[in-house]
């Protein structure tokens, strides 16, 4: 569904992403794992056209243009909400621009994420978790083919987190695809069909959990594999020794 070829993202002299290639297939949840500053968000922002990039990004074999944007639902890492509006006004605005005709799905999402109490309050006054829910509803309202979620579980309560995870599963069962970045290994381990581990702007490993285990030549949790693949296990041991 989504193809990325030789993606390079530069911020001035600093190269954040160094020639990444990956593919997100229909019916799968694809996880992007990596330490802070590894290039996860830059990769996602490139897909959305929010940063300048070199390389090729295609959605369903087409470059992402105005029409293709309606096939994507995006939850950014930083809120892109309009603070002076209420969630209701924000949803109305997004729905108008997405050409949604019926409010039914939006209302169901509002209730699913427990936002009904907050729909008439200014977004600026909402808690971080509630703002995240607003961003999630705005991304899901048009039933997109591809969901791109950048650290979507940040600030979410257990109930909403569970609902979102279940929705992601249902979404891929219906033939959609999910690309999501997270630093919570347990969630990635449970949810993702395939994972790409990014470190310093390059993919150091890609595949199912089993394939990653083989590559790391070790058993254990995804966290252990991740630390081994990113070469941070040695560093952590050193830090712990120094601290104790």
């Amino acid at each position: 569904m989504l193809e990325i070829r030789n993606l390079v993202v530069k911020y001035g002299n600093f190269t954040a992403v160094k020639g990444i290639s990956l593919e997100v297939r229909e019916g799968e949840i694809f996880g992007l794992l990596g330490p802070n500053g590894a290039g996860k968000s830059s990769t996602i922002k490139s897909i959305m056209g929010l940063v300048e990039f070199e390389g090729e990004i295609k959605l369903m074999n087409k470059k992402i243009g105005v029409k293709e944007r309606n096939l994507i639902g995006y939850v950014p890492e930083e809120f892109m909400l309009i603070d002076v509006l209420t969630p209701m006004e924000f949803f109305e605005f997004i729905a108008s621009l997405r050409g949604i005709k019926s409010q039914e799905r939006i209302v169901r999402l509002i209730y699913a994420f427990g936002l009904e109490k907050y729909v008439n309050k200014p977004i600026t006054s909402l808690s971080l978790g509630t703002k995240q829910k607003v961003a999630i509803v705005a991304a899901l309202m048009h039933e997109p083919k591809l969901l791109i979620l950048d650290e979507p579980l940040n600030g979410l309560d257990a109930k909403s987190s569970r609902i979102l995870k279940e929705m992601m599963k249902k979404h891929v069962e219906k033939g959609g695809a999910v690309l999501f970045s997270t630093h919570i290994m347990e969630i990635a381990e449970k949810l993702c069909d395939r994972i790409a581990v990014i470190n310093q702007g390059t993919i150091v490993a890609e595949g199912t959990i089993e394939e990653l285990r083989k590559k790391a030549k070790m058993e254990g949790s995804l966290e252990d594999i991740f630390l081994k693949l990113t070469g941070e296990d040695e560093y952590i041991r050193g830090v712990i020794n120094a601290l104790s």
Partner: protein, 493 residues
């Protein structure tokens, strides 16, 4: 325990934050992304420039007032100082009440010291003009009067400043709980009225500055009335201090002492309020019984969103008023309506750029909306503001006994639309991130081109002045320009 010097330093950090917040809020558009570092850097510089500007204005004003050497002249200066001070700092003080000092509570600083930091941050808002005024006016008065008249002048100014700070504090606390809060029915109307007052403070300040000298001359005409009721005026601030400067007696002295006590109470009230800053309170809104959404078309969706943003953002609302205000101002200074239009158009373009900045950075990249539709929605608001400005300027002329040519103005509207589209298109191509995203030269060139397009139908018509073809030629040029605008909207990618 931190020393006062250290607390002053900490307050400096909060003050920089306040300047940045004020700048961001007044810019109004989405500011995440490129250029934020530059904005942060410029925030303090622009605040210092503003303070120097206002200090100079007060300095000249103090000299004019001292030269008048009359009860009315002195009182007028003190009143003017009080109100202008309040107006000038109202917006910054409003943002001061939104500052979050909670971080300090996690550090080893006592609550008492935190209150001091809050107070010092507040003091920093007024610093240069406050101190300069305190000495400029007394000095000027002592030059044009007896040397010891500087003392009552000093206390008169001090009191004006104390009252002014109390006024601005109460207004800000009152306003900040009302602004940015969506609510239905009459509350919505009330909130918009608050916003207008909030934004209008800027214009009042500007207008008074333009006519300061005339104001003094006009006010001096009331001198005989004041003399007639001198006994009463000696009891009222700031006239009591005027009398104390010019012809001190027991009544003016006693009254001044009483008002100094009021000044003491007002500063105590202010300090108490400053150190009790709380998080932005939001009125409880009950959840709706049934959710009913209003989903519209794309263009109307953006316009609706923009209007809501304008109604809740004083900075944006100010930009909406600016074209009309500047137009009327130029006409009041003797320019014709036609000659004043260039400034109206320029401010309309600044408004559309600001509104467009948000979509450019986010909406156009994430949502399935063609550029042309975004242009159209912004130009719609721009032309609406342009049209309203034109109507208000017509009304102004009408009251002056002149009759504007309505047909000529109607012919102008399609050209204004097209000029707006061209400006927005070029600005977008060159790179609007915010209204300040373009270089000054780039902006000037684009607006100059827009103005050429705006005036072209009129110039074309002038070639046939007096003949029946004049309006026809102007209409034709306006129509051709309109079609160019439509073509840009249709083909914009």
């Amino acid at each position: 325990m931190p020393s006062l010097r250290e607390l002053w330093k900490i307050s400096g950090i909060y003050y920089r934050n306040l300047n940045f917040l004020t700048l961001i809020e007044s810019r109004t558009s989405h500011t995440k992304g490129v250029g934020i570092e530059k904005l942060a850097k410029n925030a303090n510089r622009s605040v210092v420039y503003n303070k120097i500007f206002i200090s100079l204005i007060f300095l000249f004003s103090a000299i004019f007032a001292a030269m008048e050497s009359s009860v009315m002249g002195y009182a007028a200066f003190m009143l003017l100082l009080m109100f202008l001070f309040s107006f000038f700092f109202l917006q910054t003080v409003t943002y001061f009440f939104q500052l979050n000092f909670q971080l300090l509570y996690t550090l080893p600083i006592s609550p008492e010291d935190i209150r001091k930091v809050m107070f010092l941050t507040f003091v920093r808002i007024f610093d240069i003009p406050l101190i300069l005024n305190l000495f400029a006016f007394p000095l000027a008065v002592s030059i044009f009067n007896l040397w010891y008249s500087a003392f009552p002048a000093f206390f008169g100014i001090l009191l004006s400043e104390l009252f002014s700070v109390a006024i601005v504090t109460s207004l800000s606390k009152f306003f900040y709980t009302k602004l940015s809060q969506p609510s239905g029915g009459w509350k919505e109307v009330l909130r918009v009225i608050f916003q207008i007052i909030w934004a209008a403070t800027f214009f009042i300040f500007y207008a008074v500055m333009m006519w300061i000298r005339t104001l003094y001359t006009r006010l001096s005409l009331y001198e005989p009335i004041i003399e007639k009721y001198a006994l009463i005026f000696k009891l009222i601030f700031p006239f009591n201090f005027s009398y104390l400067i010019l012809s001190p007696d027991f009544i003016s002295f006693g009254s001044s002492i009483l008002f100094l006590f009021f000044g003491y109470l007002s500063i105590r009230w202010t300090i108490n309020n400053i150190s009790r800053i709380k998080e932005l309170k939001v009125e409880e809104v009950p959840p709706p019984e049934k959710i009913r959404m209003k989903i519209t078309g794309q263009i109307y969706g953006i316009i609706r969103k923009d209007i809501k943003m304008i109604s809740r953002n004083p900075g944006l609302l100010m930009l909406v008023f600016l074209p009309t205000f500047e137009g009327i101002l130029l006409m009041a200074l003797g320019n014709s309506l036609t000659a004043s239009l260039y400034i109206v158009f320029t401010f309309v373009i600044i408004l559309t750029y600001t509104l467009f900045g948000f979509e450019k950075l986010m909406i156009m990249k994430l949502l399935p909306i063609p550029k042309g539709k975004v242009y159209l929605s912004k130009i719609f608001i721009g032309i609406l503001v342009f049209g309203i400005s034109l109507v208000i300027m017509d009304i102004y002329l009408f009251f002056k006994g002149e009759f504007p040519d309505i047909v000529e103005q109607l012919i102008l509207l399609p050209a204004a639309f097209s000029a707006g589209v061209v400006c927005l298109y070029l600005g977008d191509r060159i790179g609007i991130k915010r209204s300040a995203g373009l270089s000054a030269l780039g902006f000037i060139l684009i607006v100059a081109l827009g103005n050429v397009m705006l005036y072209l139908p009129g110039i074309g018509g002038l070639l046939f002045k007096g003949s029946t073809e004049q309006n026809l030629v102007a209409s034709l040029i306006s129509l051709i320009e309109f079609l160019i605008g439509v073509a840009i909207i249709k083909t914009a990618r």
